[in-house]
Structures are given as C-alpha cells and as structure tokens.
C-alpha cells in the first residue's frame, strides 16, 4: 500500500507567498488574542481547584450557588467529563481565606479586646493566606485570644491547635490559624448536599509565589529548549537552514497556543510539556526534510535550490505524512477515553503534529530559499563592486 505515489511532484513552494501570509495571519491573531483569552490554571495563576463527584445528579448552577453562599463570589464551576459522572471542577482564584477587609476587622477587634495585653503587630500576609501572627507586650491566655478572634468573625482551623503560642525568650507571640480555603469549599458542599453525597476527589492549591515561579520556569524551559535545538541545527546543518527551522518552530508553538486561545481550556503544567514536545517534534520533522535537501543538493543535478527543495520535499513526503499519521493515531485513544488534562494534552499535541508537518513542508523550505537568495544577492553585490560581470552567471543559476 502506498499513500504517496512515487514520482509525486507537488509544487510546494509555488504558492509560498500566499501560504506564508496565511500562516503569519493565523499566528498574528493567536498572539494578539493570547493575553485576553489564555486561561491560566491554578498552576500558573494560583488559587484552588477542587474536583468533586456527586453520587446523584446535580446541576452546575446549584453547585455554584452553594459555593457563592460560602463567600466565594469568583468561583467557576464546570461540568467535568461525561454528564452522567456528576463530576465538577470548582475553581476559586482567591488564595487567601481572609479578604483584606476581614483582616483589618480582625486587627481592630484584637486591639480592642486585648487592649490590656498591649497588642503590638498583627501580621496577615495575603500570600500565606491562612495564618495571622500576633505580637503582644504581655502574655495572653490562648482561650482569650481564640475567643477574641472568633468575635471578629474569623473561622478558625479545626483541631486542637487553632491558636498557637510561639512565645520565645519573653517576647509573647501567637499564631491564629484560619480554616484552609479548600477545606472551606468542601465543607460548604458537604453541609449543603450531605456528607455521603459528595466526594472530594482532588484538591490543588497553588500559592501566588509558586504560580509566578512555575510560570517563569515554564517560559525558561521553552526558550532554553528552542535555543539548544537551534544551536544543534546550526552546528549540524548549513547555516542557511537555521532561520527556516526557527521560523517553523515559532510557527508551530504559536499554532499550538492557538488551541488554548480558541478552546479556552486551562493552560497548566501539562500544556508546557505539550509545547516542548511539539518543539522537539517540529524540528524533528524539519530535519528529515532538510536531510533530504542536503542529500539532493549533493547530487549536483544543476537545478536551483528552490527546485531542489521542492524535489526533496516530494521525496520525503511519504515519510512525513506516514509518521504524522502514526503519531496522530497513537493519540486517538487518549482523545476518546480520557478527560481533563490528558484530553487537552492529546488534542493540543494533535494540532502540534499537524502544524509541525505543515511547517516543515510549507514554512521551513521557503524560508531557506529566501535566505539563500538574500545571501547570494549580498555576495553578488559585494563581488559586483570588485569585478563586475563575473558573478552574473552564478546568480541566474539561483534565481527562480
């Protein structure tokens, strides 16, 4: 069986200006929409994400209502997986259980109620979120501190140690632990739907510093792998080919980002893995074509670079299509049988494979031709200054 008949001769480079314009337009749209449409998951944005499963049918609307009643007005509730699964993904972008106003109320309440103990600093760090540090001049009995905090409307952590004594070397110091955010959300659900009807299956909480850190690492990883791969190409292949591979790479990454821009699905750590794999895959594809170009050029058939790239692309076409097809086939199972991040992985990867195949045929080659023209022209101009006429023959050989 053969999908691509031998002797196939498609003029891939003929329409290169139109196709490159279309590609650039798509990339432009994706990049412009990116900041508005990208939906950072908790990995990068910070916040809490909870996956719950109900033992009976529940409407997303009801779930949202209960969460809002618990004081989370920015909660996003999403049906997760098949409807019959009764699973929901709840996302709360806030990371701290106390709003700045509540923290302020707590501060003034403590200062009033505990005036006799001389309240010093009341530190609440929004980035930490579930802890308030209190310093006083005189030791405060823990019970007094606990009830003072409760009158300020702060929900304390469960367990014996909601108020801790951290007094050291005569400096009275205490810590008030508030209820955790994820705990509060799950408690709101269990109390309104019934303990045995809700199962909290997964909780992800990422603090804001970590989100920032993970985001930086992700960007670093993408840039670093691009640089490493390009260095390899520049070293292994003709310098003329490197720009084509670079543009192809950016093209593919931009198109893959388009998946998240269009679908609005969550962009998380797995997405970074997809992008890096697409980078590897895209260059892999481009290299196979370039390898062929190198081989065809070695034949010294007297054709122009453009014709040779066209020829090489046609010769490698069988492999390019089949490999992409097989890789795509391996992802079909994931697209059918999984939900959530694995589904996104498969879908985005599929788009990456298509983009990678397209770019190695329609983007990398034409750019190599353009670079070649540019270099030849410059060389010719230089020589023209010295000995006019000598290079004319060479130039025509490379014109298309």
């Amino acid at each position: 069986m053969e999908l691509i008949k031998p002797g196939t001769n498609i003029d891939f480079l003929g329409k290169r200006r139109t196709l490159i314009t279309i590609s650039m337009a798509i990339i432009g749209v994706v990049l412009v929409l990116l900041p508005f449409r990208i939906n950072f998951g908790v990995d990068f944005a910070g916040g809490t994400e909870i996956e719950v499963k109900f033992s009976e049918a529940v409407e997303a609307k009801d779930v949202r209502q209960k969460i809002e009643a618990a004081g989370f007005h920015d909660a996003a509730v999403q049906q997760f997986g098949d409807k019959s699964e009764n699973s929901f993904l709840i996302r709360v972008s806030r990371v701290s259980i106390l709003t700045p106003e509540q923290a302020e109320t707590l501060r003034t309440t403590l200062q009033q109620k505990l005036a006799e103990y001389g309240v010093g600093a009341v530190d609440f760090d929004e980035h930490v979120g579930d802890r308030v540090d209190v310093q006083t001049e005189k030791p405060v009995p823990l019970d007094v501190l606990r009830s003072a905090a409760q009158t300020a409307g702060v929900q304390l952590a469960h367990g014996e140690e909601s108020v801790r004594d951290l007094t050291r070397a005569g400096q009275p110091s205490y810590q008030i632990l508030t209820q955790g955010l994820s705990e509060k959300v799950s408690e709101a659900l269990t109390s309104s739907f019934g303990q045995d009807k809700v199962e909290v299956r997964r909780v992800e909480y990422v603090g804001p510093q970590v989100g920032q850190q993970l985001r930086n690492r992700g960007v670093m990883a993408v840039l670093l792998s691009m640089v490493a791969i390009l260095l390899y190409i520049a070293f292994r292949f003709d310098l003329r080919f490197a720009p084509g591979a670079v543009v192809g790479l950016f093209h593919d990454v931009a198109i893959v980002l388009g998946y998240w821009v269009v679908s609005g699905r969550e962009f998380n750590l797995t997405s970074i893995a997809v992008i890096l794999t697409v980078i590897g895959y895209s260059v892999n594809d481009t290299i196979v074509v370039f390898d062929r170009v190198r081989e065809v050029l070695a034949r010294k058939n007297g054709k122009t670079l453009l014709e040779n790239i066209n020829l090489a692309t046609n010769e490698a076409l069988g492999r390019t299509i089949i490999t992409s097809l097989v890789t795509a086939l391996s992802l079909v199972g994931l697209m059918i049988f999984t939900t959530g991040s694995l589904f996104d992985f498969a879908a985005a990867m599929l788009i990456g494979i298509i983009a990678g195949t397209y770019s190695s045929v329609f983007v990398a080659g034409p750019i190599a031709v353009a670079v070649d023209h540019f270099l030849e022209k410059r060389a010719a101009d230089k020589k023209a200054l010295g000995s006019a006429g000598k290079t004319a023959a060479k130039r025509t050989a490379h014109a298309d």
């Binding site: 069986m1 390898d291 086939l329 999984t338 694995l342």
Partner: protein, 586 residues
C-alpha cells in the same frame, strides 16, 4: 548466517531477558491487590528472592496521596531573630554593667535601635558589642546607634532556617510511618513533601505547620533495667541491647516499638524513642532502627528558654580543632539550667525534639551563666564531628527559633480517582497502540509486522528501564508513553520508505535493505536528538508529574533507536537470507 548476525542476536536476546528480569518487581507489584501492594512486607514476601528490588512507582496523581510544598517564612524568621538579639543585648548590657538608655527591636527595618545618655556610654557599649557579637554591623553616631545583622550572617541564617524546618518535618513524618515519603528542599525557601496514600491533608498541614517542641529531660539510667524488665516478654522484631549506661529495646519497626512501650512507664518515668542511623566507617548512613530511652517524666527545661545554638570549634589545647555545640539560654533558662546541671552531675541530659530523643550528653559539671557547651565524643574524624555538631545544633535551634512554615502548594488526590485514571489511561494506551500496529501491518505488510515486533519490544523496554531506575509513573507519564510509541515508529517509517525507494531504483532486496538502513540512520539520529534535547530541558525545569513525562519520553526515544534499528534489521536480514532474488514484502 554470518557471525555478526549471531552476535547481534545474542545482544538482542540479552536485552530482552534483561528487560524481563527488571520487569519482575513491577509485575509482582501490580498483580497484588491495590490495598496490599503498598504494604512493604507483603510486597517483599511476594517478590522472588532473586528479583531486583526497584520497580515502577505510581505517582501521587495515580495512587492518591498528599503533595505539599511548604514555604519557610524566612523574613519572619529574620525578624524574630532581631527581636531575640535585642533581648540578648539587653542581658549583655546588664551583665557587663554597660549604661544604656533603651534597646528597641525594629521588626520592619530588621534592626535594633539603642540610645545612650552620653557619648562615653555609647563608645563603651559599641566596643563591647563589636567584640562579643561579631555578626552585627553598626551605624549611627553619638548617643544613638543602630545594629543590624550583616548580610553574610543573614544568608547563613536563612539557609540554616530551611535546614532546620526540613529536619523538623522529616522527624515528624518518620513518626507517622508513611511508606516511602519524599521530603526534599525545593528552591531557596521551599520544602517538598509527598505522602503517598495519605488521606487527610488538613491533618498533615496542621501537624507539619506546628512549632517543634524541644525538651530537656534527665535520663533515668539507674531505673532503666527494672523498667525494661517489667515490660514483659518481647514480641517478634523487638530485641534488647545496652549502651553502657542503660539497657534498651530496639526494633526496625517504629510503630511496633511505640505500641509495645506505650503507657507502660512506671510512675515518674517516661519511655522515649530515638531514631538511630547506623553509619559505616566512612560515615555513610545505612540501616535505620529505633531504640528506647528510659527518662524521668519531668520536663526539666523547654526549648523556648534557649536563645541560640551554634557550631563552634575549640581551638585551644594540643588536640585543638574539635567541634562542639554552643548553647545560650535566656536569663530564666540560664537559672533553670544551672540548677538542673548542678543537681545531676554525671547523669545524662536527653535532648528531645518532638518526642524523639536526639541525643543524651553527660552533664560534666554545673553550668552557670547561660552558656553551655556540648562536646561530641567518639573516635570520629573532623568532618563527621562537624556534621554531627551541625545536626545537633539544627535540632536545638528548631526548638529555640522555630522558622514558621506556610503552605505554598497543596495537591491532594483521593484514593478513588487514581484507579479510574489508570484504567482510562491504560485503555487509551491500548487503543492507540492497536491502531498503530494495525496501520503498520496493513501499510508495510511483513516489514510492518517486523516493525510491530520492535514496537512491542520498545514498550517493554521503556517499562523495564522505568522499573530499573525505580521511576515514578504519573498521569502525564502515561501520555508520554503513548506518544513515544507513536513517535518510535518514525524510525521504521524512515527506514521502510528508504527501502521502498531503493527497490524502485532497481536494487536487489538485500542491497535495498543495506542502503535503506544506512541512509536512514543519520536522519533518525538527528531527528531523535532534537526531541531528546526538549526532553532533557523539561526534566530540568519541570516539576512533579511533568518530570515523569520527560523521563518516559527520553527513555522511549533511546529505546526506540535500539529496537527500530537493531531489532528490525536482525529480523529483516534473516528473512531475506539466501533468497536474493525474491521480492521483499514491504
């Protein structure tokens, strides 16, 4: 058949057998029921004695458990330290009779403001403080002075604070008996804690966030023998030993030992447990076991009276250069310590952190003045002594200057989600694999089937490598596995397309195969290498489950180079042998 063919066959068979060998533990693990397989004893009992020990572990996202990144609040620790130091300066001033108007700690600026009645007092104080506290720099002139820690000291202090928190957390988790926890430093101020199978994140957060409790107790060496005898017959796994001061019980099973001695202490006594790490001659830690200490039940002194603990080196004497741990107490602590040491000369003082007896040095003499030294004995070399002293100072500081921790990141996966994910992941893998196999069989016929054999072997090799290094299989790791199988076929596609081309150019099958493999190799190498680069970057920069993906991808690509080139060549060479004219099924 040529000799080289048999050599290659030998290599391939060896690899296959090796893969099978390394897959044994993983196979045993997954064939056990899921509630039994994480029990170390049950697993080891099911494992044949000749099998390797390492196996594929399931990531937290697949088997359920708690993943926490705890952040050490270093800024707050520094501020606390400033307040502390202000107290110390106050004590120092009154002790040395230096006239000072006021000493105030400024938490926000992390400095200590001191004011004096006149310049002479100020100069005297400055000179004395500079001599005593070398880790501070001072500014300001006249009757007002400011002291702040120098930046080197702050840097070391912060590093120490993270180590201290790490030590405390490890200590606690050891006590819970969680199987195979991960506890590691992450970044400059983070601590990663992974507790597979742990179900209660709130409890974990509460316990880990708690301040370490440091206690000093007197070891009851005289009463120990009677107490140990009274415990009765020892159950399996618990044995009796002696350390020259008192008899003790020991076991490698902490929970069993705890359970056995629980509530059995006589009036006025308490039985503590200590983790003992055996070290070989070069100081490399080995087996861990636990032993008891019979102590008095009375807590003589608590950690909050301790102001600091640091490693110092004794430069005096002929044998100089001996490291020791220096302790300082606040005034109240100093008084108590003087009394305790005075009343118990020759006895041992147990240092107990969070219930674990860390060490029990002998009290040599009455110690007054609030500064004590713990010298380390034994015939250890300098580096080992320094290490031991550092450990001990960490323990003491954990109780004295707790560095507050907060939760940076929490990921909890319930036990029911994992099996479902594994199931859907496995189904997806099988469907993907079958589609690839079917396509290759139909498209390349016999040669395609050969590639399929290689692909199946590739899958087994990936699993065997993961098993061999004891890697962790995560959800993205499963995706990586499937994707790698798809990409691994690339090498065979390249080779087969080449062979077809050579055949079209009129070559004989044998020559076509030769050329096909030869010409495709460089391309396969180049193209795999770029994906490998991306994989290694991911391994470096990724976290948690994503690293699982990178590991699978890297191993898969390396394995595919072997299976797609060596294994298929072996079979193809065999099938075209002696039939040079016959057509090849491709």
């Amino acid at each position: 058949m040529e000799r080289s063919w048999y050599v290659r066959l030998g290599i391939v068979l060896a690899v296959v057998l090796g893969a099978a060998y390394f897959l044994v533990p993983t196979f045993v693990y997954f064939s056990l029921p899921s509630d039994v397989r994480n029990d170390k004893d049950a697993y080891e009992a099911a494992l044949p004695s000749w099998a390797p020990k390492k196996r594929i572990n399931l990531g937290l996202d697949l088997q359920g458990g708690v993943h926490l990144v705890l952040g050490v609040d270093l800024d707050k620790a520094v501020k606390d330290k400033v307040v502390r130091r202000a107290d110390e300066l106050r004590n120092f001033a009154s002790e040395k009779k230096l006239a000072v108007q006021s000493i105030k700690a400024d938490r926000t600026r992390e400095q200590i403001d001191v004011s004096f009645a006149n310049d002479a007092d100020a100069d005297a104080f400055r000179a004395a403080v500079t001599e005593q506290f070398g880790d501070m720099r001072r500014s300001g002139s006249g009757t007002a002075a400011r002291f702040a820690f120098d930046s080197d000291y702050i840097k070391r202090f912060k590093e120490g604070a993270v180590d201290q928190a790490l030590r405390t957390i490890r200590n606690r988790i050891d006590k819970w008996g969680v199987s195979e926890p991960t506890i590691a430093k992450r970044g400059t101020d983070g601590i990663l804690v992974q507790l597979p199978g742990f179900k209660d994140p709130e409890k974990a957060k509460e316990l880990l966030g708690r301040t370490a409790q440091l206690e000093f107790r007197i070891v009851a060496d005289g009463e120990a023998a009677a107490q140990i005898d009274e415990l009765g017959a020892l159950p399996d796994g618990i044995t009796r030993g002696t350390d020259g001061y008192q008899p003790y019980l020991q076991s490698s099973d902490l929970l069993a030992l705890q359970h056995f001695v629980e509530n059995k202490a006589k009036e006025g006594l308490s039985i503590g447990i200590s983790k003992v790490e055996e070290r070989d001659a070069s100081g490399i830690p080995g087996q861990v076991h636990f032993r008891t200490y019979v102590m008095r039940s009375n807590i003589e002194l608590t950690g909050d009276k301790l102001t600091d603990a640091r490693v110092a080196v004794d430069q005096s004497g002929l044998g100089g250069g001996k490291p020791y741990v220096s302790l300082s107490f606040d005034p109240e602590g100093a008084r108590q310590f003087e009394q305790i040491t005075g009343a118990n000369i020759g006895k041992r003082l147990a240092i107990v952190l969070d219930g674990n007896v860390d060490s029990a040095p002998v009290i040599q003499s009455k110690i007054a003045g609030g500064n004590a030294q713990i010298t380390l004995g034994g015939s250890k070399n300098y580096n080992q002594l320094i290490e031991e002293a550092t450990e001990l100072s960490l323990v003491l500081r954990s109780g004295a200057l707790p560095a507050p921790v907060s939760i940076f990141e929490e990921r909890t996966v319930g036990a029911s989600l994992g099996p479902e994910l594994i199931k859907s992941g496995a189904t997806a893998s099988i469907v993907g694999l079958l589609l690839v196999l079917a396509f290759m069989g139909v498209y390349y016929k016999r040669t395609g089937m050969v590639a399929n054999v290689a692909l199946a072997l590739n899958g087994a090799l990936i699993l065997a490598c993961l098993s061999m290094v004891g890697a962790t299989l995560t959800l993205p790791g499963i995706a990586g596995f499937i994707l790698t199988l798809g990409m691994a076929v690339d090498a065979n596609v390249l080779i087969n397309e080449r062979i077809r081309e050579e055949l079209r150019n009129g070559r004989k099958p044998k020559a076509a195969v030769q050329e096909g493999y030869g010409k495709a190799f460089a391309t396969i190498f180049d193209s795999n290498l770029t994906t490998l680069v991306a994989g290694f970057v991911l391994l470096q920069y990724g976290t948690g489950p994503i690293r699982g993906f990178a590991v699978t991808l890297i191993i898969g690509l390396l394995a595919s180079m072997f299976t797609a080139i060596v294994v298929t060549r072996l079979i193809t060479d065999r099938s075209i042998r002696g039939r040079p004219g016959e057509a090849i099924s491709i």
